[in-house]
């Protein structure tokens, strides 16, 4: 009897969410794998032609996709470095007991709340008009010009804006990490006469390893999946030079109507994201130290 009642409660508590979750995430994932083996234009009346692994093989000859893979990788490397440096520097400054700390923390976090699409539009204007103005006034026209029309600089513009968006968020994580370092460890090292740099290198950084794990995971996966900022800042241009993975997949499916082929790309995208993030978490977790 007791057991029967428990089963009822179990269903009542877990079934509603799990059914929604199955409908939205799990079933589409399975259907997605199925679609990736077909050639199909997305129109229900048109036939789906089974092509086996052809879609996946075709990927290796798709120069635009390979170019986008390379650009996404480059973007991710630069973005992860830049976001984490800016976030960590701000976190160290903000936690060093300054009166301006609170104001600074609030301001640096602000862009994260605004959202990628809108941030992209804001910076489109800044690159277009403010950068050119600064270039004219200072004469540094090689540095300050509209980055968005240059095939190389447009990617750096993307890194720039992404850093602006994410740094505050990552800063909060590092702040939480710094606060979790026990005070007595720091005090003991100060009494022993350790310098600021020695404390940073030998105490703060090793004890921050869990925060590094999370921050790297978050920046790595969100940089790899970047879409909103990409869409509003560069739209993939100039000449597809900033078309990141996510946008390439979107365009393949909904832009050119290659549903099966686009879905094969999407499956590969999943495998890459999963492999990279799991490897990173595995590596950094191993370096975490227990106090």
């Amino acid at each position: 009897m007791q057991n029967k009642i428990n089963k009822g409660w179990y269903l009542l508590f877990t079934a509603p969410l799990f059914i929604i979750f199955l409908t939205v995430v799990v079933i589409p994932f399975v259907i997605g794998i199925y679609y990736s083996f077909f050639k199909w234009d997305g129109i229900a009346a048109n036939p789906k032609v089974f092509v086996g692994f052809d879609n996946f093989i075709k990927l290796f000859g798709d120069t635009r996709f390979l170019e986008s893979t390379w650009k996404t990788t480059l973007f991710t490397i630069l973005a992860v470095i830049s976001v984490n440096i800016v976030g960590l520097v701000f976190a160290l400054l903000v936690t060093s007991k300054l009166r301006t700390s609170n104001a600074a923390r609030t301001m640096v976090f602000m862009p994260y709340l605004i959202g990628g699409l809108i941030l992209g539009y804001i910076w489109q204007f800044i690159f277009l008009d403010v950068f050119t103005l600064i270039g004219e006034v200072t004469g540094l026209e090689n540095v300050f010009f509209n980055w968005l029309i240059d095939m190389d600089f447009a990617l750096y513009a993307l890194v720039f804006v992404f850093t602006w968006q994410m740094a505050g968020y990552i800063m909060i994580i590092y702040i939480a990490g710094i606060h979790s370092i026990p005070n007595d460890v720091m005090e003991a090292s100060m009494i022993d006469g350790a310098s600021w740099w020695q404390r940073l290198k030998n105490i703060t950084f090793p004890l921050l390893m869990p925060a590094f794990t999370i921050s790297l995971f978050l920046t790595l996966s969100s940089a790899f999946k970047i879409y909103d900022v990409n869409l509003s800042l560069t739209g993939g241009g100039p000449a597809n030079s900033t078309e990141m993975f996510a946008m390439n997949i979107y365009n393949e499916i909904f832009g050119y109507g290659n549903y099966g082929y686009g879905q094969a790309k999407a499956i590969i995208f999943f495998l890459i994201v999963a492999a990279i993030t799991l490897t990173q978490v595995y590596i950094t977790k191993k370096r975490e130290v227990e106090l």
């Binding site: 509603p16 969410l17 979750f21 259907i31 400054l93 600074a104 602000m110 994580i173 879409y227």
Partner: protein, 278 residues
């Protein structure tokens, strides 16, 4: 000398933070200028503060309608996520059997799937449901809320699950002995204890759902259903050349976020920090 360094540090931090926010300053000052004044000097303060372009942008973006849609979708999604994911996570954490472990594993493992992998089959599946079962999933705000709940469930269940594990079970056992039902135990005893993590779950989801562009762009086709990011996107498609008008439009979209930030600042920063450490 030490004091001098401290003042320098204070100033540097403030300057860095102000520099960090300077793009917002540029948006504000230019949202009040006409086109000619804007191109004279984009950094200068406006000659007069007229809200003319705000009113114009408000009409062209159908801003109030978009704001209402965004509020409706975000608030309803987040409330349902909190209720369902806390219940699910508690039950999974407290029922120590194979099934619970499997369900929890599925929730966690799917966190690795990027949205782009799911978007096409999701839309196909949702139109199938719409056409065969006659449940309107596509092009309705309720359908979008349903999908938001599905996508938020992994992280929300994960956060609640971790928190429940840290609560001693004795309290619940005592209440059960006193004759409380599972429902009573959860809502009267557990849910209030979960408050800190509920705040985190709410904040993370509010930010994600409020700012989401891609999912609404795929599901909502009617003009009248557009959320703020969607209406911003279409607004820019049509009026990009008029940057002063565009600036006013962007400011409009930022204002609700700033109000939210001012009201809940402490909770937001604390919530994000705690959410990340879990």
């Amino acid at each position: 000398m030490k004091k001098f360094y401290k003042i320098i540090k204070e100033l540097l931090l403030l300057i860095a933070a102000l520099f960090f926010l300077s793009p917002i300053y540029i948006i504000i000052v230019n949202s009040f200028k006409d086109r000619q004044e804007l191109y004279e000097n984009v950094l200068a303060l406006p000659k007069e503060f007229s809200f003319q372009y705000y009113i114009e942008a408000m009409e062209k973006m159908n801003f109030l309608n978009a704001l209402a849609n965004s509020l409706y979708i975000t608030i309803l999604s987040v409330l349902i996520i909190v209720v369902l994911s806390s219940m699910t996570a508690w039950m999974l954490a407290r029922t120590d059997n194979k099934l619970s472990k499997i369900i929890f594993m599925i929730f966690i493992a799917t966190m690795l799937i990027p949205f782009q992998t799911l978007m096409m089959p999701l839309m196909q599946f949702m139109s199938t449901i719409t056409n065969t079962l006659h449940i309107p999933m596509i092009n309705t705000r309720e359908g979008l809320i349903f999908m938001h709940i599905g996508f938020s469930s992994s992280i929300s269940v994960f956060l609640y699950h971790g928190f429940v594990k840290s609560i001693p079970i004795t309290l619940e056992e005592a209440a059960t002995i006193d004759g409380a039902s599972k429902f009573g135990v959860f809502w009267r005893i557990i849910f209030p204890i979960l408050k800190p993590i509920t705040v985190t779950v709410m904040i993370l989801n509010v930010i994600n759902i409020w700012n989401d562009y891609l999912l609404p762009s795929l599901t909502l086709t009617d003009k009248g259903l557009r959320t703020i990011p969607l209406s911003t996107f279409y607004f820019f498609g049509e009026f990009t050349i008029q940057w002063n008008l565009a600036m006013a439009g962007l400011m409009l979209t930022i204002i609700p976020v700033v109000i939210f930030y001012v009201l809940a600042q402490k909770h937001i920063i604390k919530g994000i920090g705690e959410g990340a450490v879990k």
